[in-house]
């Protein structure tokens, strides 16, 4: 069984993000970057699948972006991916082009499962997983917080597996089953990602990262989303402090909040 795990490199969300003077780009040079948190959940789950129900699973991390991406791919190898693919592009493409590239890689690698994050915490699009599932015509389960392998026959081959997943929806936890191959997008409650220990980090240095130029995939980027402007958001509220419950109630009634 093969599991493909897309990894996005994103600015650390705990840092303040600034917009440049032209109001078109973010100033990110001083901001540390991390693996998108949801992608870390996806990778962790892939490793748990290999540690549990499918010991022969091969885990391939894939990143689409500039050379700096190598760092997050190296971290992915330390967390447990067996190998990594880096598709070199000058900046992260929009979700449509991410999905097209993921489809091309999927056609090359024939994974049984694409396990990815539900959303990138920088663009907050929540699209690439659904796009690639549609493009491949594969079953999809988005916002997944639990995955269970159901063996359909005694042979531990993947063709003999179905997945039962729990999905976090606005109305509650939904349970569905999926045929493989499938696309799954991870929610934060899927698991708690591990920190790579030193031996794993050292071992990761010897694992391969293959670099594939876009031309080799016969893909020309065709952006669907074009950014016109960016704006920082700041709070315009001024907090009025009250000293007691009585004063609070007076204020709330006076201002017709209640």
């Amino acid at each position: 069984m093969k599991i493909l795990v897309p990894i996005k490199r994103v600015p650390d969300p705990d840092h303040r993000i600034r917009v440049d003077l032209q109001r078109i780009a973010l100033e990110l040079s001083d901001v540390p970057h991390i693996i998108n948190p949801f992608d870390a959940n996806a990778l962790e789950e892939a490793v748990r699948i290999r540690e549990g129900p499918v010991p022969d699973a091969e885990i391939i991390a894939i990143g689409i972006g500039d050379p700096a991406w190598q760092q997050e791919l190296r971290t992915s190898l330390a967390m447990g991916a067996d190998r990594a693919i880096h598709v070199g592009v000058s900046g992260p493409p929009d979700p449509w082009n991410v999905a097209r590239i993921l489809r091309a890689i999927t056609e090359r690698e024939s994974p049984d499962l694409v396990l990815m994050g539900k959303q990138a915490v920088d663009d907050d699009s929540n699209q690439a997983g659904q796009f690639v599932a549609g493009l491949l015509g594969w079953p999809q389960a988005t916002f997944v917080s639990q995955i269970e392998f159901i063996p359909l026959d005694p042979e531990p081959s993947i063709a003999g597996h179905q997945l039962r997943v729990a999905r976090e929806t606005d109305t509650g936890i939904e349970t569905i089953r999926l045929r493989l191959p499938a696309v799954i997008t991870a929610d934060l409650r899927l698991n708690e990602p591990r920190y790579a220990a030193l031996p794993a980090i050292l071992k990761a240095k010897r694992k391969p990262i293959e670099t594939i130029p876009l031309t080799e995939l016969n893909i020309e980027l065709s952006p669907r989303v074009e950014r016109i402007a960016l704006q920082e958001v700041s709070s315009s509220r001024k907090c009025q402090y009250v000293q007691s419950v009585d004063e609070l109630l007076d204020q709330l009634f006076l201002n017709r909040c209640l």
């Binding site: 699009s125 690639v132 917080s145 929806t169 509650g172 920082e232 907090c239 419950v245």
Partner: protein, 320 residues
């Protein structure tokens, strides 16, 4: 421009958020002389389709095979409806339903999609969309290249639609055989109680890590909400701790709400939480740490222990 709105429903009526998507569609159509239609998918949904005829023509796909929202089937139906109506734009309210199903349909329709739109504008006849990113710390203005354009909107940002003078026509959509069968429904465990839904309540009371257990959550957060006919909500911290169900989580990865009054009980004010509530009309924060960031996003602040303040508040609200 022909705009098709995908309507999410609860089995008997359209969700208010989906109606706001129709409101958005009307606003766009009014400006460029366009038309608006709705699409309902499910089983025994004729009644819901009927309700929607007040806003124009309605397509509906009704079949036992569509009894539950499975993305592979539903997306195929949406793609059929887009081609029947010759839609140049597909809109829906940003919810887990639309992110899942409309997102997949968008993948089949060429991927010109923008999510979570909070405002739009026109420039040289072109539609500009404004959307938050980076957990709402930044907003971006974008244009879409390609057709159809697929848009999800934040329901809090758009009004309910205006009824037409004449009712629209109803068009059933025959379900094309075979529907995909790679996804199979099991069940939905809904923890929605009897309280108002957090996305449409006027007042929302939310609890954070300060709340120690389920019992206290019910007593303090639930108790205060009940005095105010409000809904209850929580931070991710409480959902992770198993104290509150996931459907109550507000924030970047939870629900996005904008009630008249948001009451934050023992919530620090992490950006990921603010992303879900900072557009509330008024915010009241109660926190024992005077430096908690939530106060920067609050209109009223009370520095104190929620275990003392909230019972007192509930007691005084009960007084005649």
């Amino acid at each position: 421009m022909r705009i098709l709105a995908v309507i999410e429903h609860d089995g008997s009526s359209p969700k208010p958020g989906s109606l706001a998507a129709v409101g958005f569609a009307q606003a766009v159509a009014e400006r460029n002389g366009g038309h608006v239609a709705s699409l309902v998918i499910g089983h025994t949904v004729a009644g819901i389709a009927e309700i929607l005829t007040s806003f124009g023509i309605v397509y509906f796909a009704d079949s036992p095979a569509l009894a539950n929202p499975l993305a592979d089937r539903y997306a195929q139906v949406i793609v059929d409806a887009v081609s029947r109506y010759h839609a140049d734009m597909l809109v829906a309210a940003s919810s887990t339903y639309a992110k899942d199903i409309v997102g997949r349909a968008a993948g089949l329709l060429g991927g010109a999609m923008v999510s979570d739109v909070v405002a739009h504008d026109w420039r040289d006849g072109q539609l500009l969309f404004v959307r938050p990113m980076h957990a709402g710390m930044v907003t971006e203005t974008v244009i879409l290249h390609g057709d159809p354009k697929i848009v999800t909107i934040r329901p809090t940002a758009y009004p309910q639609p205006i009824a037409m003078e004449t009712q629209g026509e109803l068009f059933p959509i025959a379900v094309q055989d075979p529907l995909p069968v790679g996804m199979m429904w099991e069940h939905l465990e809904s923890k929605l109680g009897t309280r108002p839904d957090v996305t449409d309540a006027r007042i929302v009371v939310a609890g954070g890590r300060a709340i120690a257990d389920r019992h206290d959550f019910e007593r303090l957060v639930g108790g205060l909400a009940d005095c105010l006919d409000g809904a209850i909500a929580s931070t991710r911290a409480l959902v992770d701790a198993g104290i509150a169900p996931n459907s109550l989580q507000v924030g970047q990865t939870g629900k996005i709400i904008a009630p008249e009054l948001y009451i934050a009980l023992g919530i620090s004010g992490a950006v990921q939480h603010l992303a879900g509530m900072k557009n509330s009309k008024k915010v009241l924060a109660i926190n024992k740490d005077p430096n908690a960031p939530i106060f920067d996003f609050a209109d009223y602040g009370l520095v104190g222990d929620v275990y003392d303040v909230v019972p007192e508040l509930i007691g005084k609200l009960h007084e005649p």
